[in-house]
Subunit: 202 residues, 2 copies
């Protein structure tokens, strides 16, 4: 198996766990949101970006206008008129491109499918599950309040959907974006992993 | 394997062939568009529907208005104001419900996922492939003119998408509608079938 595997997933569907299981199966690195964000913050690229952003925020009105910067000196806008969100996304994308360049791995979230779309050795997965299954997992595995689990799931899915729409420009739930979409609950999580591994090959 | 398997598929993706391979693997009946349409035409339900439709088309203005019928006696509208398309869909849906009731089988197309949505023993698949792969198949397997294959694929996908939207009210390419979406070309068709069979179990 010589592929880079990206995973998009509904909140509570077990996509994170499944990603780990796939990485373990192939003995390849596993990167999730947390690891990618941490690496982006520590990267030279990111530091430079944030430094530039701060510098630009204190620049003159004329420069600000020329560069499309928020003239109120709002730190949310830096050079090239990129928002803080955009710059963080760029730094994270850089991390994703670097880890992909290093060889086969599993990357969860952060629109990695889109970031790596020019590569030909990427397989894009999406993990989904029924609402009932996700409610159960969110309460039992994440320890969330059963009375708030439903809204939490909807809110997190909405956030992921908006994030994808904003950065990729496509619908998060459009199957055109993925090579394999799989429901984790219908036949059990172990079975879903078995099917994915069968699909990916040795 | 005690499931009823429905298959939606992009034109030229090999969904029909894959459906047949799955049916052969489990030794269960295979129903495609053609078979379902034929059965619907031959069914008592369909005959009655078409008869009623013709009868109603010659009824009085008052009756027509009361029943929401096209007052111009347009044969495209029958009782309950249903179009010919709607009535054919109803007859085909009846066939789909009947074959599903009879036991495990594979059903390709005709929004079978939606028709059988009340059942708990259904697994909904969607088969997709890259445009290049589909172009190759449409020319080599279906014998279409290479100069017209691209437009043919787009036209047929558009037709399927509209058909799904009209009858189901959802986007054909929304992954929410399926339990397993699989790209047939990335790892080869045999491998896609192996992954599906692994997912479905023995």
């Amino acid at each position: 198996m010589d592929k880079i595997i990206t995973i998009g997933r509904q909140y509570g569907s077990g996509g994170h766990v499944i990603g780990k299981m796939i990485a373990e199966h192939y003995d390849i690195p596993f990167y999730d949101n947390e690891l990618i964000s941490k690496a982006a913050k520590e990267s030279g690229f990111a530091e430079e970006t944030f430094e530039n952003a701060e510098k630009n925020a204190t620049n003159s009105l004329l420069y600000s206008l020329a560069m499309g910067i928020n003239v109120y000196g709002n730190q949310d806008f830096g050079f090239s008129g990129l928002s803080l969100d955009d710059r963080i996304f760029m730094a994270q994308s850089d991390v994703i491109r670097n880890v992909a360049e290093a060889g086969p791995c599993v990357i969860v979230g952060r629109c990695a499918d889109y970031v790596l779309k020019e590569r030909t050795d990427v397989v894009n997965l999406f993990i989904k599950a029924s609402m009932d299954y996700r409610l159960k997992r969110v309460v039992e595995e994440y320890g969330e309040d059963p009375k708030k689990a439903g809204d939490l799931i909807l809110k997190n899915d909405k956030r992921r959907s908006n994030y994808y729409k904003y950065h990729v420009g496509e619908r998060w739930t459009d199957l055109s974006n993925y090579d394999l979409v799989i429901r984790s609950d219908i036949m059990g999580m172990d079975n879903a992993v078995k099917a994915i591994v069968t699909y990916l090959g040795d």
